[in-house]
Amino acid sequence: MPVVELSYTRLQKLVGKVTKKQISDSLPFLGLDIESEDKDLVRVEYSPNRPDYSTDFGIALGLQGLLDIKTGAVKLKIKKSDRYQIFVKSGVSKIRPCVTGIVARNGVIDTKILEQIIQMQEDIHMGIGRKRTKSSIGIHDLDKISFPLTYTTTSRNTKFTPLKFDKEITISEILEQSDVGRNYGYILGNFSKVPIITDSGNNIISLPPIINAAITTVTTKTKNLFVEVTGINKNDAENTLSVVATILESAGFDLESVKISGAKNSPPKLAQKKISVSASLINQILGLNLSTSKICSSLKKSRLDAISKGNRIICTIPAYRFDIFGPMDLVEEAALGYGIQNLEPILTPSQTIGQINPVSLQLKSLNQIMIGLGYLEALNSSLTSKYVLYDMTNRNTAKIISVLDSKSQEHTILRDSILPGLLENLSRNIHESYPQKLFETGTVFTIDDPISEKINFSSISAHKDANFTEIKSILQSALKTGFKITIETKTSSHPTFEAGHCASVISNGKSIGVIGKINSKIVENYKIRMPVVGFEISLSESIL
């Protein structure tokens, strides 16, 4: 989850007449988790579906609503203008077909605001921009650009001076030498040409979605901005633009429109949408009995516009709230505006009768029996390593089920057996007193169109007199006392067990597992200095 750093004093200026405490009490009720606080600074985690919360401007809008200082939808005031135009060439269609943009004038950019804007850009790129694949933003100093612009393609040998560089280099070099080039260059695929935005003087101002040109760098001296968003579909690009436009307007800029034409592109609408919801749905879902006017005022506190028509509430939703899909989202907005802290939990008696799953019951019985026999329950991960599961126990590695790209070396394959894990447990406890007697029940996995999951039961005993008779008595008694199951043991062999001390466990004429003395070489591998006996049987094929 992305994190944004806020200053209480800045928020107080943006929100209006509020105390620091009111702000810190309200943040969680906007869905913002306070991560840490240090005097004036507070770091909050926000959900990526609310990119407007990537800046304090957006959070201030939310706080104003919740604290009843300013409610209702934020309206974008965009001055129609013919001065700014982008022509799109068809060459971009296959690579990155959409461009949209807006002009923001007469703002003041101090270092704080610049930080906020850069943070917003990065967060949007990672979140709704899906690491710049779906949409990416370029923010430029308007006064360094001569309109009209052209969104077109060029060869990878074309040179320009990218942001933070001091000389011209080729696009290929940018993709190889800069961090952003290396991280996002793949988005441009294998096309020989790459998308660029040029101005009327044919200067490259942007190489979307990688980097801007140095010439349009935004500094604290910049007064007027040009924002372009490119992407793979118009809808996502305009959603992204709507967030940036809303934030810039809140930051005090005057917005002006940009004309866009060519290769199926058109100017952004950034229009509000209307969704209606019935008051009874809201009351039903929340378990409340609110009047329509209370619902409308709650929605307004969530910075939406709402009017009632009979039982229906008609909501007007600003473009930047594209996380709102339908009526159920409005139920949540109403709940937030009403205040989650005002919802009193209730406990209605259950109309249903609860039941433990029969599998859990059987496992619990087996647990009780093993404890009665003096065995301690162990728990190991299903996801283990080839080393523990196969190498150490000498087992065949033919049918390993592995996971891709595990971050942990110890967790790379799914277990098909429980016993190796228990042996590993013994090896980690060689300094503890003996006898050591452990058991575990758990899921094991095998490949079977696509995967079969069964429940196994394994147990081991390690002490100086551990022997076959002892462990066979344990298994025999556990199954007989617990489940009226009788077993026989038939001479067998298994790589984990000592030859001549190993048997198949037979129940109802079917082999359900293996029992015996653990091979002394394996015991030695594990540095265990006591004889070990054990078994593993399938419960899915016996008691479940």
């Binding site: 869905g31 959900s47 989202d329 009768i353 609860g354 404890i371 790209d405 980690r428």
Partner: protein, 462 residues
């Protein structure tokens, strides 16, 4: 005050009353007990605060090779003087008689002005009253002695000579009785034992502490009217993600968060109608091209929600309370707060009157039953619920609010395509986190270390 003592203890106390400072060795002699019995007896008395053990180090002095020779034959200079007592002797004769100590003896006697040379002969000049070192040599020759019991000036003259003196550092123990032991009445009656004495622990066989927590949670929800359902840990992406309205390009679906099974895809994932409707919901709302091959990829379930949603899709009940409990997986770096595999509980309520306040009420009741009463609810975001909340519970030990279960009402985009028409309340969260609070653990890995020391000692009822 009268107390029952073991025979060993009695003997040691009585001996120390007669002779108040003793080493374990002298106690062995005075009590006729074996070294092991004395050791145990002292240990018991110490635990009962009846005996003090004072440990000290001392230097024990004994004779080396040359010292032993001199003890037996006399110091070289003494042997020389003895030879000269009978009158002057020739140097060559003395050399023959004294052998290897000839040089040493002549040198020392000359230096001390005991002898003089007249033409070819050596004769006594002054016969000394005593020879330095001779007294000490005879003392140590009898038996080893602590250094502080010896005249150190006298010893010094021997220390200068090679291989004369050996010094050993020896630890000694001195046992004394405490004040209370001196006055305590020792009961004579035989056959009684010390019922107040400490005894060793035995290890109790038991269920794993985490399993205890899981069982407790299971039982609480059963008594709240929920039935337990179970399902596979390996799931198609369809049930783990797509059916829960998580778009196929959502970051949670990336390899770095989710475990995909290498090269394994499911052929049958759902009914054709379910697949079609889920695809439509994605295409329409997320505006992208939904890909069935992506949905076929097998993953280790990232939550147990896939089990409950599958159950609801198969049964489409009008009224139901079910829960699922089991292992879930996340591709994380293992640390004190993260595991790749942990347990989760996930429950749903279906019914016409299922609403947010009821959902909060079920949570509050659950927390109350596990002993947590200070809770609050905050809004949050999940892709498949709307509205969504999380519970914050206050932990007294850590003195802070901790995030526990998440909850919400399944989005219509989730339920509608699967034919579910009534509201579905859903909630769930990790169990290890609750168990950590219960057992006061700060490292979640402890649950899967199978450290016998911990398993054998963790208190069952917390």
């Amino acid at each position: 005050m009268s107390q029952v003592f073991h025979d060993i203890e009695k003997k040691i106390i009585l001996s120390l009353r007669e002779n108040p400072k003793q080493s374990p060795e002298t106690l062995e002699k005075s009590t006729q007990l074996s070294p092991d019995q004395v050791r145990r007896g002292i240990e018991w008395l110490k635990l009962k605060d009846l005996a003090n053990v004072h440990e000290s180090k001392s230097i024990i002095v004994s004779l080396g090779k040359n010292g032993i020779e001199s003890f037996q034959k006399g110091l070289p200079e003494r042997r020389l003087l003895d030879l000269l007592k009978g009158g002057p002797r020739k140097l060559s004769d003395l050399q023959k008689d004294l052998g290897s100590v000839f040089g040493t003896s002549i040198g020392l006697a000359r230096k001390n002005n005991w002898i003089e040379t007249s033409s070819e002969n050596i004769l006594i000049k002054n016969l000394p009253l005593e020879i330095p070192g001779e007294k000490t040599l005879n003392q140590i020759g009898e038996r080893k002695l602590p250094k502080d019991e010896i005249d150190n000036d006298d010893l010094f003259s021997l220390l200068k000579r090679p291989d004369f003196i050996v010094e050993d550092i020896v630890k000694t123990k001195e046992i004394t009785l405490t004040d209370s032991a001196r006055s305590i009445v020792i009961s004579d009656s035989s056959g009684e034992i010390d019922v107040e004495a400490k005894v060793p622990d035995v290890f109790v066989a038991r269920t794993h502490p985490l399993k205890d927590t899981i069982d407790e949670i299971r039982e609480i929800f059963v008594t709240l009217g929920f039935s337990e359902i179970i399902g596979n840990m390996t799931q198609s992406s369809f049930w783990n993600f797509d059916a829960l309205f998580t778009p196929q390009d959502h970051p949670a679906r990336e390899l770095q968060d989710t475990f995909y099974l290498d090269g394994i895809s499911a052929k049958k994932i759902a009914t054709p109608e379910q697949i079609r409707k889920v695809a439509d919901s994605h295409n329409k709302n997320w505006r992208y091209h939904w890909d069935i091959n992506e949905a076929r990829k097998m993953v280790l379930r990232t939550h147990t929600t896939c089990i409950t949603i599958k159950h609801l899709a198969e049964n489409t009940p009008d009224e139901s309370r079910v829960f699922s409990l089991g292992r879930v997986f996340r591709n994380e770096k293992v640390s004190y707060k993260h595991l790749v595999e942990f347990n989760q509980i996930e429950g749903v309520v279906v019914g016409k009157d299922a609403n947010l306040r009821n959902l909060m009420g079920i949570q509050r009741e659950f927390y109350k039953r596990i002993g947590i009463t200070k809770i609050k609810f905050w809004p949050t975001f999940f892709p498949y619920t709307e509205p969504s909340l999380q519970t914050m519970v206050y932990n007294e030990r850590l003195e802070k609010w901790i995030e526990l279960f998440g909850m919400g009402i399944f989005r219509p985009e989730v339920t509608k395509p699967l034919g579910i028409t009534t509201p579905v309340l859903a909630w769930g969260g990790g169990i290890e986190r609750i168990a950590m609070l219960k057992y006061g653990l700060d490292d979640v890995r402890e649950f899967y270390n199978n450290n016998l020391n911990w398993l054998r000692s963790a208190t069952k009822c917390q």
